[in-house]
Symmetry: C2
Subunit: 430 residues, 2 copies
């Protein structure tokens, strides 16, 4: 039905021009089209994905690529072909004449006679509402531990001990604020800076970094969360590859040879899922000697994460159901045993290790109340507990480190190279 | 040419259906169309702006409004009408049949036979590159004064005095970092949180607030800057009015009656321009008694700003060329006298007062060197001075307070009501 409509539209668009008697079109790859020696107007067919769109008053330019070449094929069409469906990332079949290009940028271009959209690429927001969660917060004990405290500099004198009356910190995560907002908007996300006062000089830690965080009401299983995470990774990557092909190719060519293939491998495959318990079994059976001996109840260290990803064939892998004792108070109790776990999930990716962290949240009042009481946090988190008293729903969410994401897709080894002004211990330039 | 192409396309789109012999169409306002009693398929013409677009496989829905009614007119069209030009904010003339709507949401809808785009609304980024400027910075003396200092909370012990080796602060502006990036990308902007440790309980100050900041290379006059500022205000407002008409109408109806008219007045008129010196003359001649007596060389206080906006007929007004002694070291010296000024500009708007602040930057090495030396800042800003040594260009930029912008267009009196988690002295909830 859909293809029929496209065909109908394309034919209709053509009908205003005198219709030449068409010869059957030869199918060419983008590489072959670009390398064509004779351009005597032979009729060809090219299939690929739209890498850029430039819509002018009289004419429409598309750059199309099918992966056979680093260079795109320029398609030139009458502006009557223009439609909302011809967007970044849409797959198309273009028929037309291969002609010599008047521009010096390319030898040939494809003069379109027919453009059929094979698959739409609709960059919708999926109904998520963007929330700006605050940077300064009085939550001081979310379990992340390493906090920056904020006070007016010595120039300012206030009669009170604290500017905000209470100790104030730089946020380590917008999660708790997103949980507040998900109770009004169902699906919310934030994209902003977060902070850790970690004394680390590693290649994957910054004192100031960006996170994409999402929180979704009425989610009842980790499977639902993992689906959103995998789609986010894949669709964001498709958009980056479509919008900034030259920048990505620069990195892949000069900094990380082979990364293009590794990334395509990740995008093609379904991500894997293993439990924390299975992960520990795999690590115990490994022939490799680890600095930290793998043991049920212990953290997954970077060396473990890297081994697991390699073990999984360099496909991103979700690790689920972590020991309750390892994770913060807000994660949902799986009520299993004797090895007591919570519904947590981390996504490990090649080259980087942990990229996403998420969980179902403990939405049951009495479970959460007991966990907070055991940790002596009841008073500080009364407001959070109250969210479970008034219209509580099963919900969950996750965060993705944005600089690590860039490392992963670009193949850049050091996190300090993917941010213009990196901040880490001993360094805060400009 | 453009209208001819639209007409041509519309006619071509129609040509696939049997073409009824058309009666001349009666022109109706949206209000009259919505109130039509008989809907026996009479042929009408409606002109207005597109408020929303819903593109389905077989059918295209547009909501069109011309300001005559709070409710939009639903236009239903065959999907062959769909084009990139039918976007939020575009102005259109629609001809078709007024029919009874099958939906309960409205009585009538307009079945389109012809849609002509009168004016495009192309929400392009105008070539500005989005930069994430850092939150934590070691710049401690930009002239804004009231800074928050950042240190690891007491839990963390490092052998050094400072985590970053140097005192670190929360940013008061991304400007200096944008100036670095504008030297590579020509036109850049940032949108992010900024901080002031001001001991203020006013209705237009927050300790944590958002700013849109832009920096443009090869700008040589305040006129060029003001043009960008006015366009940003007007185009952003058009987008907000198009994308969120219901939310805006809610505020205008229940919180700020009359605001709709005040806003339309601002959007229709060209913003005014007066010099600081002229502003002082106007204030001195005012019959009003001010708390702060206006005097050349003194600050413009809120009461002065409000008077000036009222004096200008409640049209936004740019105030330019402020005393050199009032403004930070980076603003460009006008080399005038005896009243020495710099090329600074503030935009004052109804209800809020100062909304934008900007300037040409001092791009001349020796001028900047002397200013820094006089302030004892040469060492701290050597890196900034160096920007004038290597490929310096005339440039300038501005910042707009985002919460104040929302106050201005929505008519909301207190800045704490336009942000979900407001932070100010004595308050940092959640």
């Amino acid at each position: 039905m859909f293809a029929a409509r496209c065909l109908f539209r394309a034919l209709r668009s053509c009908s205003s021009a005198p219709s030449p008697r068409l010869k059957p079109s030869a199918k060419l790859s983008v590489r072959d089209a670009l390398g064509a020696q004779s351009t005597n107007g032979e009729r060809v067919k090219v299939q690929g994905w739209i890498r850029s769109v430039r819509s002018q008053k009289e004419v429409l330019f598309l750059h199309v690529n099918d992966g056979s070449s680093l260079q795109n094929l320029q398609v030139v069409a009458d502006s009557s072909f223009d439609s909302r469906e011809l967007a970044f990332g849409s797959s198309v079949e273009v028929q037309g004449q291969l002609v010599k290009s008047p521009s010096k940028r390319q030898n040939v271009e494809l003069k379109a006679e027919k453009i059929e959209v094979v698959g739409n690429c609709d960059a919708k927001d999926n109904g998520f509402v963007h929330i700006h969660t605050p940077i300064i917060t009085s939550n001081d004990c979310e379990g992340a531990g390493e906090l920056f405290q904020v006070e007016p500099s010595s120039k300012i004198k206030l009669p009170e001990e604290n500017f905000f009356n209470v100790p104030a910190f730089l946020t380590v995560s917008g999660q708790l604020h997103l949980e507040v907002m998900s109770g009004a908007f169902t699906q919310v996300f934030t994209f902003g800076p977060t902070f850790r006062a970690e004394n680390s000089q590693s290649r994957r830690h910054l004192a100031e970094f960006y996170m994409v965080e999402a929180e979704i009401s009425f989610v009842e299983s980790l499977q639902d969360l993992m689906q959103v995470m995998e789609r986010l990774f894949k669709s964001a990557t498709t958009v980056v590859l479509s919008n900034c092909p030259e920048d990505v190719e620069l990195c892949h060519k000069f900094i990380a040879p082979g990364q293009k293939d590794r990334l395509e491998h990740m995008l093609k495959k379904n991500f894997l899922i293993i439990s924390y318990t299975e992960a520990m079994e795999i690590l115990k059976q490994a022939s490799q000697n680890f600095t930290f001996t793998p043991e049920w109840g212990g953290d997954l260290h970077t060396e473990h994460e890297k081994y697991l990803v390699k073990h999984c064939g360099n496909i991103p892998v979700f690790v689920i159901n972590y020991p309750l004792a390892l994770k913060p108070f807000y994660m949902r109790d799986n009520e299993d045993g004797p090895q007591h776990t919570v519904a947590a999930v981390d996504l490990l990716v090649p080259g980087v290790g942990e990229l996403f962290g998420g969980s179902l949240r403990e939405e049951r009042y009495h479970f959460l109340e007991q966990r907070l009481a055991r940790l002596g946090l009841t008073e500080a988190y009364q407001w959070y507990l109250d969210l479970r008293r008034f219209g509580s729903v099963p919900h969950g969410g996750f965060g993705m480190g944005f600089e690590r994401y860039l490392q992963c897709i670009l193949g850049i080894d050091n996190i300090k190279d993917v941010i213009p002004f990196p901040r880490f211990t001993h360094s805060c330039l400009l």
